[in-house]
């Protein structure tokens, strides 16, 4: 079970059980849905962006532990950040879950998802909410699909 603990770390299990910012924003400036057809995971993200700053961010949905925890951790990481940081953070996060790179300090708690890199079929779970946020920022109407 040891190598599984690398994937399912306590922080991930905790965020899966008690997801943060798990709600609907009443008046979001941006929102989008993400779907992973492989496993049926579905996430909706809501953002309130004022003067280029993510004032509030929340999500709803049903998914596996990896996608739920990743969405929860993402909302914590992005709240209060400038919108312009999202692409950079996503790129860094994507590298962490797909390559053997050192986890950059700036990613903070998101680094607990590094174990996903050993489970290629689960990368889409970890990045689903991020894809939804990027779709929201681009104001895409169709749900973003991981396939």
């Amino acid at each position: 079970m040891n190598d599984l603990r690398d994937l399912y770390q306590e922080v991930i299990l905790d965020h899966n059980k008690r997801p943060r910012n798990f709600r609907i924003l009443p008046a979001p400036t941006h929102q989008a849905d993400g779907v992973n057809p492989l496993c049926g995971d579905r996430v909706s993200v809501f953002l309130d962006i004022q003067d280029g700053i993510i004032k509030d961010i929340a999500f709803q949905g049903a998914g596996c532990a990896i996608s739920s925890a990743s969405a929860s951790l993402m909302t914590e990481a992005l709240k209060g950040k400038p919108v312009d940081d999202v692409e950079h953070l996503f790129d860094a996060f994507h590298d962490v879950v797909t390559t053997d790179c050192e986890c950059p300090k700036g990613l903070g708690k998101l680094g607990v998802l590094a174990g996903v890199r050993d489970y290629p079929s689960r990368v889409k779970c970890a990045t689903l909410a991020w894809h939804a946020v990027r779709a929201a920022l681009e104001k895409r109407q169709q749900p973003v699909v991981t396939e």
Binding site: G40, C64, I66
Partner: protein, 421 residues
């Protein structure tokens, strides 16, 4: 139908399978994954292949391979004989009346698309109805939806109970509309395991002169199928789910229907005479087999059927039923585990959800224990919607699985609970 009872209650005096000997015939099963003994329980997705099937494919390519049906040389004659020999084996396997009623396709999906396109396309009109069931695989939904879009026909769906049994009263009500031109249903559900009462469903449709297609993808490896006893008009299945290679499927169709249907695809092998003004089509079965087929794959299917016949489907069904009963009891004892599909007549698969863990997480954790299961919607999203779940985990059994492997599954599921609770 005798097969009905054979799967529901194990025959008392069944021949016991020598599972250790069977396993030794599957080279892939002896490996370790993630350092653990492989426990392969994803058989409803695709079963592994015995050495005799691998040898048949290699033997074709290394000893007598050539294109079929057109060579005057020895290799082509030998290869044609092996290919057509499999047609006869398939005919006998499903007890079709004539060998020309057996069409080779790429798989169940193509077999169904062939009927939708050729039979459906030439007979259906706007306002006609096609009846399917709520427990179909996408391959027995989407071709009919596409046909409906093309013709203006309407798709009607027979609902099923929480246990996973079709509601026959609703089926009869749908048939009574007077507009139904085709019924298509799954013989065994790939998610629920339900063995549908095929003979009853067919008889009810035939009482109203409605032809019936049966999707037998999950059935043929698990119970004896007799298309004449069933009296179905079409029966579709795949080689890869019956210990044969991928890329080969079978469509059985009644001769009169197949003769009346237009070709599905045009090309070589399906013609008698071609001029630029007009083409005369070949007789059955070639009319529906345009182009060079999957020759070695068909020959591999023949070897798979020989192998399965030697085991005996009754014995396989009894063994799998024992696995099902044991797995059902073991899993039902896990708190927070919900089994999906509990029909009394059921094939050897268990679909389930755990309260504390998503099926995808279950799949990953079991994989690290060496256990291959399926996690997802199983290409049956309407079934997931019926139960209000995004996905399920599914363990499905074959002739080579053992009670010890069920134990490994159960132990691993307890570990999942430990991790997530």
């Amino acid at each position: 139908m005798s097969a009905h009872s054979s799967i529901a209650t194990a025959p008392a005096a069944a021949v016991v399978l020598d599972v250790a000997r069977i396993r030794a015939e599957f080279p892939i099963l002896s490996q370790k994954v993630h350092g653990k003994r492989l426990v392969y329980l994803d058989n409803a997705a695709s079963v592994q292949k015995p050495q005799v099937v691998l040898d048949a494919i290699t033997g074709c390519y290394s000893q007598y391979y050539a294109n079929i049906h057109r060579g005057v040389h020895l290799l082509s004659e030998r290869c044609t004989a092996a290919y057509e020999g499999t047609r006869e084996k398939v005919r006998a396997f499903v007890n079709a009346a004539h060998r020309q009623e057996i069409i080779f396709t790429r798989g169940t999906t193509e077999s169904i698309n062939l009927v939708a396109s050729s039979f459906g396309g030439s007979t259906l009109q706007a306002g006609d109805e096609i009846v399917i069931t709520g427990m179909e695989h996408h391959s027995n939904i989407v071709p009919w939806q596409m046909l409906c879009q093309r013709t203006g026909a309407v798709l009607k769906v027979v609902p099923f109970t929480d246990a996973g049994e079709l509601i026959l009263a609703d089926y009869e009500r749908l048939l009574a509309s007077g507009r139904v031109k085709l019924v298509a249903f799954v013989h065994i559900s790939n998610v629920l395991g339900t063995l549908n009462p095929a003979k009853t469903l067919i008889d009810l449709a035939h009482a109203r002169h409605i032809p019936v297609l049966v999707d037998g993808a999950q059935a043929v490896a698990h119970l004896p199928v007799d298309v004449q006893a069933l009296d179905c008009d079409f029966y579709a299945f795949s080689s890869h789910k019956i210990y044969g290679p991928t890329g080969v499927g079978v469509l059985y169709g009644k001769q009169a229907l197949l003769n009346a249907m237009p070709p599905y695809q045009g090309g070589g092998d399906m013609i008698r005479l071609v001029t630029f003004e007009k083409t005369d089509y070949a007789d059955l079965p070639n009319k529906f087999e345009a182009g060079t087929p999957n020759i070695s794959g068909v020959i591999g299917l023949g070897a798979a059927l020989d192998w399965l016949n030697a085991l005996g489907l009754e014995a396989v069904a009894a063994h799998e039923h024992a696995l099902l009963e044991y797995a059902t009891a073991q899993l039902a004892a896990i708190p927070g585990l919900t089994l999906m599909g509990t029909a009394p007549h059921k094939a050897a698969l268990v679909a389930f959800t755990l309260r504390s863990a998503h099926p995808h997480d279950i799949g990953t954790i079991l994989d690290r224990e060496g256990i291959a299961i399926r996690a997802g919607h199983h290409c049956a999203q309407p079934v997931m919607q019926r139960y209000g779940v995004p996905a399920t985990a599914r363990a499905s059994f074959a002739a080579y699985n053992t009670l010890e492997e069920v134990d490994a599954l159960t132990t691993a599921l307890w570990k999942v609970k430990e991790l997530f609770e």
